[in-house]
């Protein structure tokens, strides 16, 4: 195992395309994950803009056929969830985790490359649905049967099958990635790095990976059953032959609720790395934070039916109680973050702005999620735009802000150059304004009774104004992406040289060069706490053990 005798860092990235395509280096794979996911973010955003353009006014303007609208939001959500947010976070983890635990690479580098390459393949399969007769999948990202079954007014075309195959592929990629993370984290930590000295980011990836390994195969089983129903005459979800339509929902949400934590825990990990660095304080309640993360993971398996409160087929009190309870560990984290900033010395570099944006917006998404935990309230809110507001506040306000915090934070490590701060701030300000304009009005629309997944609405329903605001907001979000893309391009060429440790980081990735050489380290500082570099810089100041 060659971890020493390394080539100088400068040549590490002067390599050709072929080198990138065949690489098994976790850093290059991580970067490819990030780029690939970002491209899919643009694609998913393109579909979202289509949706918003249609909904800006009553009447059908953009789509002549409502079926196409259904394709748009279905593919929008599928792309955003399975090809953007999950792989993006996995990619940042892929880049950061081995560095943070002082390992030379992931445990199974070739499997890692395989996991990555399944993603663009799955994405292309999914999108190729648009070229088939009948178009892409149009039954929502949840694809409930019987609508997703074969039938002239259901989902007759191959688009739905492509959706199934693509998701199976992407799911397999996730599972292999999860196994890889777990083995890496359990077996390849640097000497001295006990479990309770791991960076929080590593902990969140650990818990996420457990969720992935345990929940994603269950999604696969649901997909397999749907595929059998569609293609081999199966009757799993077909009531006329003794099948049960609600069964799919149970199996699907058994995966998809834990999956929403897959989509947010690593972002919480990023925020928990960024906050301490930019406040110059340790994370408040390190251990409590870890237990809360594990608690969310465990509770996450017992709340799935809160998506099915109106089916009349689930035991309401139990799922309501568990859903309420999950607010408690999440609250613990929220308070830990606030307490971390409390009496800190905060510098507002762009990563920190996005981290604070995460706190402020995820809070809203968490609280409006708790509305739906109250079953009778959910009877009113289910399948209305209120839920659309909730899901974007947690997924965009939470996860996406976390992702951008991570990108701004690690970009200098990945490339050796800093992103431009001014452009970063412009990006942040436009984005947070556009985001709230788009998604806050959706609360009102939902309360006023506007259902989800409709291409059009009556002009006298009273939904015109807020829809227009939301559509304008959507395009403002799109505009905010442009300074970011521009920033990346100019900074790659002319950005300020980062040096090894531009932020005065706490964790091991900042102890190697930027970008790091293959196999990452030739030497490591001694690890005596979760902030080894802080210890090196300042000695062990006031180092009481983290309280539980």
């Amino acid at each position: 195992m060659a971890t020493h005798a390394l080539a100088p860092a400068t040549t590490a990235y002067r390599t050709g395309l072929y080198e990138w395509l065949t690489t098994t280096d976790h850093k290059k794979i991580g970067i490819m994950y990030v780029i690939n996911s970002f491209l899919f973010f643009l694609i998913g955003g393109f579909f979202a803009l289509g949706v918003r353009a249609e909904l800006a006014q009553p009447g059908l303007q953009i789509f002549s056929d409502e079926h196409v609208y259904n394709e748009f939001f279905s593919i929008h959500a599928t792309v955003m969830i399975f090809l953007f947010i999950i792989p993006m976070l996995a990619g940042l983890g892929n880049y950061a985790v081995p560095l943070m635990i002082g390992a030379p690479d992931m445990a199974f580098p070739r499997v890692n490359a395989l996991s990555f390459w399944m993603l663009p393949l799955g994405g292309l399969l999914l999108l190729s649905g648009f070229l088939t007769q009948g178009g892409a999948a149009a039954a929502g990202w949840t694809s409930y049967p019987p609508l997703s079954e074969v039938g002239p007014t259901k989902s007759p075309g191959p688009g739905q099958d492509l959706w199934i195959v693509a998701l199976t592929l992407i799911g397999t990629s996730s599972i292999l990635g999860g196994i890889n993370f777990l083995v890496t984290i359990f077996k390849m930590r640097a000497p001295g790095m006990t479990l309770f000295r791991m960076p929080i980011m590593v902990w969140t990836i650990l818990v996420t990976s457990v969720l992935v390994v345990m929940a994603t195969p269950v999604l696969t089983s649901a997909l397999v059953m749907l595929f059998i129903d569609r293609n081999y005459g199966g009757h799993f979800f077909d009531p006329s032959f003794g099948g049960n339509a609600v069964l799919y929902q149970n199996v699907f949400w058994f995966y998809s609720h834990p999956a929403v934590y897959v989509m947010v825990l690593p972002a919480m990990g990023i925020v928990s790395e960024v906050l301490p660095v930019f406040t110059r304080k340790p994370l408040f309640g390190y251990k409590a934070f870890i237990f809360a993360t594990a608690g969310i993971g465990a509770l996450g398996f017992s709340v799935w039916a809160h998506h099915m409160f109106t089916t009349g087929a689930v035991f309401l009190p139990f799922f309501s109680l568990m859903t309420f309870l999950i607010a408690v560990p999440t609250g613990v984290k929220m308070f830990n973050w606030v307490a971390t900033m409390w009496r800190g010395k905060i510098s507002f570099s762009t990563p920190m702005l996005f981290a604070v944006g995460f706190l402020a917006m995820f809070l809203i998404g968490g609280i409006n999620g708790a509305f739906s935990a109250a079953v009778p309230v959910d009877f009113a809110l289910h399948d209305t735009y209120f839920v659309v507001a909730h899901l974007h506040y947690v997924l965009f306000g939470g996860s996406v802000f976390g992702v951008f915090a991570g990108i701004y934070y690690w970009f200098p490590k990945m490339t050796g150059r800093l992103l431009d701060e001014t452009l970063g701030k412009v990006h942040f300000v436009i984005m947070i304004i556009g985001f709230n304009l788009t998604f806050f009005p959706m609360h009102m629309l939902g309360l006023q009774g506007m259902p989800r997944r409709i291409a059009d609405y009556a002009s006298n329903a009273g939904w015109n104004d807020w829809n227009l605001v939301a559509s304008i907001g959507g395009f403002i979000i799109a505009a905010s992406i442009l300074p970011f893309i521009w920033n990346v391009f100019i900074s790659l060429r002319n950005g300020k040289i980062a040096g090894d440790d531009p932020w005065e980081g706490n964790t091991l990735e900042w102890a190697t060069s930027s970008p790091p050489p293959p196999y990452n380290f030739d030497r490591l500082p001694e690890i005596r706490s979760e902030r080894p570099l802080f210890d090196v810089r300042h000695g062990r100041l006031d180092h009481g053990d983290a309280t539980a």
Binding site: G192, V213, A215, I228, G234, F254, G416, E526, V536
Partner: protein, 212 residues
């Protein structure tokens, strides 16, 4: 790129720097841990299918849709032979592991070969059993019972097939002398997988044939 960075202050404060000597193997090896996790995910996959089975069964508790085809399954038939063979193969697989741990390469190869053949025979028997059921009119599409039955046993069969392929690779590598008492992680991993496939079958057999 300059070399001035975090490493500078490390030296400056004189903090101790440990030269990493590579990672000493601790506990179980990476491939085996990886395989255990993979098996965990497979367990969850089958749990999903089993959940569908039990839910569908409860849904159609006293209906002909369920009970009629159920009666076609007879535990005291060819399937029992297949079951016994598969269980036997788990033993031969384990003998192979013990043999290679002792460094007994010939014993290892013999037992893996047995396991490999038993796996193939199981698949052939299951295929034959399928044709019998098709003859009785039970297929994936004949009703929910057929759907759940063939999905569960079919996916199990696919896993047996995967296992047989792995055994083939192990056999080949064993014959070309790639394993020793010190170096045989792949063998351990494959045997874990094979035991898992066996256990799934035992549960399947009990649920589908015995607890009906």
């Amino acid at each position: 790129m300059t070399a001035e960075g975090a490493l500078q202050p490390i030296d400056a404060t004189g903090a101790p720097i440990v030269v990493q000597e590579g990672h000493v193997a601790r506990g179980i090896s990476n491939p085996i841990l990886g395989m255990l996790l993979f098996i965990t995910s497979e367990v969850m996959f089958f749990s999903g299918l089993f959940a569908a089975y039990f839910s569908t069964r409860a849904h159609n508790a006293d209906s002909d849709v369920w009970t009629k085809p159920q009666q076609l399954l007879n535990p005291l038939s060819l399937i029992l032979v297949a079951t016994i063979l598969l269980i036997t193969s788990s033993f031969t697989c384990q003998f192979a592991v013990w043999a290679i741990r002792r460094g007994d390469r010939r014993g290892f190869i013999r037992n893996i070969a047995f396991t490999f053949v038993l796996g193939i025979v199981f698949l052939l028997l299951q295929g034959y059993d399928y044709t019998l059921l098709f003859g009785e009119g039970m297929t994936l599409g004949s009703g929910v019972f057929g759907t759940t039955y063939f999905t569960l046993t079919g996916f199990h069969g696919a896993h047996v097939f995967g296992g047989v392929l792995m055994l083939g690779v192990i056999l080949y590598r064993g014959m070309s002398g790639q394993f020793s008492s010190k170096h045989h992680d792949a063998v351990e991993a494959v045997s874990l997988y094979w035991h898992f496939v066996d256990v799934v079958w035992i549960i399947l057999f009990s649920v589908l044939y015995l607890l009906s």
